[in-house]
Structures are given as C-alpha cells and as structure tokens.
Symmetry: C2
C-alpha cells in the first residue's frame, strides 16, 4: 500500500430528522450571523427551508439569505456571495442543497476571508491557503458529488471557459447533515445523474494506479455494487428509505477520502467532463455517463486485468468461455445498460 | 441504513519513514514538554526509540520518559502516568507501541486533566467528559487494536478484577504515525494475535444488527478477506511490506468507525474476553481466537442467513450441495483452520 496522509474534520449527522435534531446544536459554536445559501428555491417547496430556518432561529441566529446558486456555479456568483458575507458581517455559511450549492459556499468562504482574487490565486495557481476561510456547514438535499465530506469545490469561470476543481482541507464543512428523506423529492433524472457521478468517483479511483490487490479496490467494489443495486430502486420508489439512505452514504463514502488513500486518482473522465461543462453547461453526471463507456473502451486494453476484475466483481459477469477482452467490454457494456434501464424507469 | 453521528479527528500519516518525515512537524502545535510513553523496551532494540527521540529533539521538545506499560495496562499504571504528567508539567503525551501503550496513554491523558477518580467516574460510571484531556499522539509499532484511530481505551483494574473499555472521542489521538516497517520486528505469535484481534473487531461489527444488505457489511467482508490473505503472508515473510501495510491499514479500518456506522456493535466476544483477561491476564487476540468459534457455533442457528453469507463471501466456500447449517459451520470452521495454519507457520 502506498504512503498517504489522511484527515477529515467534518462531523456527519446521518439519518431521519437530522435538521430538527441536530442543526441548532451544530451551529452553536459559531457566531451570530448565518448566511443561508441555496439554489433555485426547491427547498421552499419541499419544506426543508422551513425546518432549517426554524432550527437557526431556535439557536438564536440572524439569517442573511443568499439564493439562486446555479448548477455549475460560476465565479461571478462566488464574488456575489463574498460581497454579501462581507457587507453583512456573516460569521457562518450554511449551504442547503447539492454539490453546486456546497462548492459555491466553499469558494465564497475563501473569497470572503482574503483580499486576493481566489480564482486566479487558488483555482488556477493552486496557492497555499494560509488563512482561515469563513466556516461552512451543509445540509444535503441532493446526493452525488460527495462535496459534503471534503474540501473540494468545482467552480466555472464563464469568461475563461474553464470549469475546474480544487481540494483545500480548510474548506471541509465543519458539519454535514445527511437526511435521506430530504432527497425523496429529487426527480428521477437528477437522481440518476447523481448516481452516475458517484459511480464515476469510485471508478476513477478504482482504475487509477496502483492496481495491486488492496483494501481500497475491494471497498470500491462494494460501493459500486451498492450504487448499482440502489440507484434503480430509488428511481422506481423515490420514497424507499433503504435505497435513498444507501445512495446517500455511498456518495459520501466515494468522496470521504478512504478509498483514495494510497491511490493516484487522476480523475481523467472528470477532467474531460469539466471542459465539456465549461463550454456547454451540461449536467455533470450525465456528461460522465456519456464519457466513461467511450473512454474505457478506448483504454481497457492497457489495463485489461483490472477491467476483467471490474466485470466479474462489480457487475457479476461469470465470464466462462469469454476472452479477457470480451469480458472487459462486457463489464464496460453494463454501464450503458444501467443507463438504458434508468431511461426505461424514468 | 440506521442513523448515526460520525466524526474522527485523528490525522493519519501512513507509510515508510513516517517518524523521520512527519513527527517533528506533527508535534509542533503542542507545548514544550513531551512525555514519551512506551512498553517493555523493544523500541530500544529495533531503532524506533532513536528515530523518535531524534525527531522530538529536532522539534525542540523536552522529553520525559514513561516506560514499562504492560499488556492489559492496569489502572495503577495509569495513576503512575498521571503523577508523572502533573509533576513534570507535561504538555503532550506521545505513545510509541501497540494497543496497550495507546490505551494507557489515553487514560493517563484524562486522569492528568481532572481531580476525579477516572476509573470510577468514567470507566465504571460512564460520566460525561466535560474537560479537555492532555493531547495524545501515537506512533504505532504493533497492529491489531485499532486504538490509533479512535477514543477507545481498555484498562484493567486488578483489585476489582475488571477489564473494560470506554470510547471518548476527546481521547482520539491528535495524530497517528503508521509505518508498516515499524512492525517488521513483531514476532509471529504477536502478529497472529493482532490479526485475530482485528478480525474479531470486524466480525463483531458484521454479525451485529441490522443484518440488511448494506455498505457496512460489504466493506467488512473486504477487510476480513484482506486480513485472511495477508496475515499468513506477514508471518511467513515478516519483512513483506505489502502484507504488513495491508494488515496495518486493515487494523485501522476495522476501528476508524466507518464500518460501525448504523450498526449496533455489541462486541459480545470482546465482553467475554475482557473478563477472561481480567482474571488470567491472557493475550487479548489469543483469547478472542478461542472464544469466537465456540461462541459462533453456539449462536449461528439464530442468524443463519448471515453466517451463510459469511462462509460464502469471506471464506469463499461455494456451498454446493450443503445445507445452510453445514455451510455456516464450514465458515466458522475456517477460523480454527487459520489458527492451525498459523501454528504451522510459527
């Protein structure tokens, strides 16, 4: 096993009623003014907004609202958030939403705590973050990116046509509230896109060096099987708690860092998708669902043994009477079949 | 998946040369006086003591030594450590050793920061730790307990004949340095005992409720297979880095909390072993190796489906033509076979 350094400071509250039970307590340690950040307003329709504001008020907080965070959040939006934090003396940022909201909040938390141009200094130049960002907490309502348990933030600079991600441990949310019931109202297509995103995170890790038999790969296989089993279930029965909770935890497990330990993790398909996203604003998970099979058919000959293992251990293809290359293609081919299945379901 | 709250504050440095590369930096944040705690002195024979003291001196620390921590560390030893910390104004406790050293250090870190009788107040009465223990860091030289990544401490009160464990997150080591090469000199029997201990941690978790198909059980299966594959290898070739590193990480993974999330974890075999240990001072891992098969043969009829899954997924028994109970017994029976194999090897 290769060397690594691991730390993860995020406290996770997982389960039904997480906001009602834990939010007031979780924000206690931070200052009085909370910026409540969210997306297009779906949280006002499904009751989440009401539960969150009630808990914040119970904790004696003053709320400043920052809404309209878009999918593929832009640097322009980050600067808008920075202004709001600075003008209102915000002590704590609470992001309520999916990956876009969480990533935008992390970038704002950095931008608001420095005079520097964070896009240039940290997203492009990868500078050393030698200051403390404004603390962030998150309430997850859409799963897939796993952003709730790491310091990653994917930001798009529209002018420069660059969408890119950086991971600064200081940006790890101080806490993440994961209530699977909060994802019941996520529509089928978005559920599927989130599912592909998390599957992609695990595949990118699994197919990166080293390939030696190790615990990381075995855990990755378990996570992939769990996603494959639970994704169609969650689409067919949106209020299936088992399926929603398994997906929610698989999403976090894919990105909490554990499976990446000792692996190179070049995230090649993500790199391709990010550029596609910068130019087309396409949905991230859907972009990945297109890229992975095409890319893997192209590269599988150079890592045949691993693709054979993937076909057998993840997709359960017995492989009798098949050559290695047939088996590798069969494994990769199951991925589009999952897409087909989901298209039928939705 | 059941609800849970998860946090883990320990920073892990994993890999070759960890002490030389990271120790001086890791202790930087803490005060000047470090209590270096260890066991019977094997670290003076294998060079670890020299590397550790050199790094501490390079970091400008003053060292106070506390040696002779025994297997099954006693409350009397904890009180001895408390005295040393208080009399020397110790700012930081560095434990160098295996589970006994780490557990003893955690109990000392609590005892030295309060006037209370910590055995009575926290190990027996399970009081709320409302004070900050003296910070602890660890350098692991023997694997098995997983104590390096949690707040657990197993302490024995010889007078009361009670050996028992408590887990206080405030006792999590601030950092853990895991260098697989530091375990090269662990003798075969102790390597085997550590292997059984970690296998036991995973089995206790795996066989506890809920039994529903979930990510925790799949990850547990992966960890158990890794231990079963690597333990005989590490005994046969003590300097096999792959085997030693896989075992080292499996030990931490078993106890870092991830597989326990949403599971009940009653740790029944451990409860039995602890009492055996309190009366006989037997080796913990060896005690578990005796208890598990006997206990599981007794209870397996009441959880047959899970024992069948264990036989198939962990031990790889195909099970054709076998009844469920035969299969369950075959799975449990592989455990003593692993013991036999290890007896032959050592």
């Amino acid at each position: 096993m290769n060397s690594f350094v691991y730390e993860n400071a995020t406290k996770i509250y997982f389960g039904r009623g997480g906001v009602r039970e834990h939010l007031a307590e979780a924000v206690q340690a931070f200052g009085k003014t909370v910026m409540l950040a969210y997306g297009g307003g779906s949280i006002k329709k499904n009751g989440i907004y009401g539960e969150v504001t009630e808990a914040l008020k119970a904790a004696g907080k003053e709320i400043v609202e920052f809404s309209g965070i878009m999918p593929n959040p832009t640097y322009r939006k980050v600067l808008e958030g920075k202004k709001m934090v600075q003008e209102n003396g915000v002590d704590f940022i609470l992001g309520v939403g999916g990956g876009s909201v969480m990533d935008c909040c992390k970038a704002i938390s950095m931008a608001a705590a420095t005079d520097k141009d964070v896009w240039k200094e940290y997203w492009i130049e990868r500078g050393n973050v030698d200051f403390e960002p404004v603390p962030v907490g998150v309430v997850v309502t859409v799963v897939g990116t796993g952003s709730e348990v790491n310091g990653e933030g994917v930001i798009t600079n529209e002018e420069e046509k660059i969408k890119t991600s950086r991971n600064y441990p200081r940006c790890n949310p101080r806490f993440a509230i994961l209530d699977p019931e909060y994802t019941y109202s996520v529509p089928p297509l978005q559920t599927a896109a989130g599912g592909f995103d998390m599957l992609s995170h695990v595949m990118e890790t699994y197919f990166s060096a080293p390939d030696g038999d190790n615990l990381s790969d075995a855990i990755s296989e378990a996570i992939m099987r769990s996603i494959i089993d639970n994704l169609p279930l969650a689409i067919e029965e949106p209020e299936n708690y088992e399926a929603r909770s398994n997906l929610m935890w698989a999403s976090s497990m894919a990105e909490i860092g554990i499976i990446k330990l000792g692996k190179r993790c070049d995230f090649e398909a993500h790199m391709i998708e990010h550029q596609m996203g910068a130019y087309t604003d396409c949905n991230h998970g859907m972009g990945l669902a297109v890229i992975h099979p095409a890319y893997y058919r192209r590269i599988c000959k150079d890592g045949l043994a691993k693709f054979v293992k993937f076909a057998k251990n993840v997709w359960g293809i017995p492989g009798e009477g098949m050559s290695d290359i047939q088996l590798a293609y069969a494994g990769i081919g199951f991925f589009p079949k999952l897409v087909d299945l989901i298209i039928i379901l939705i």
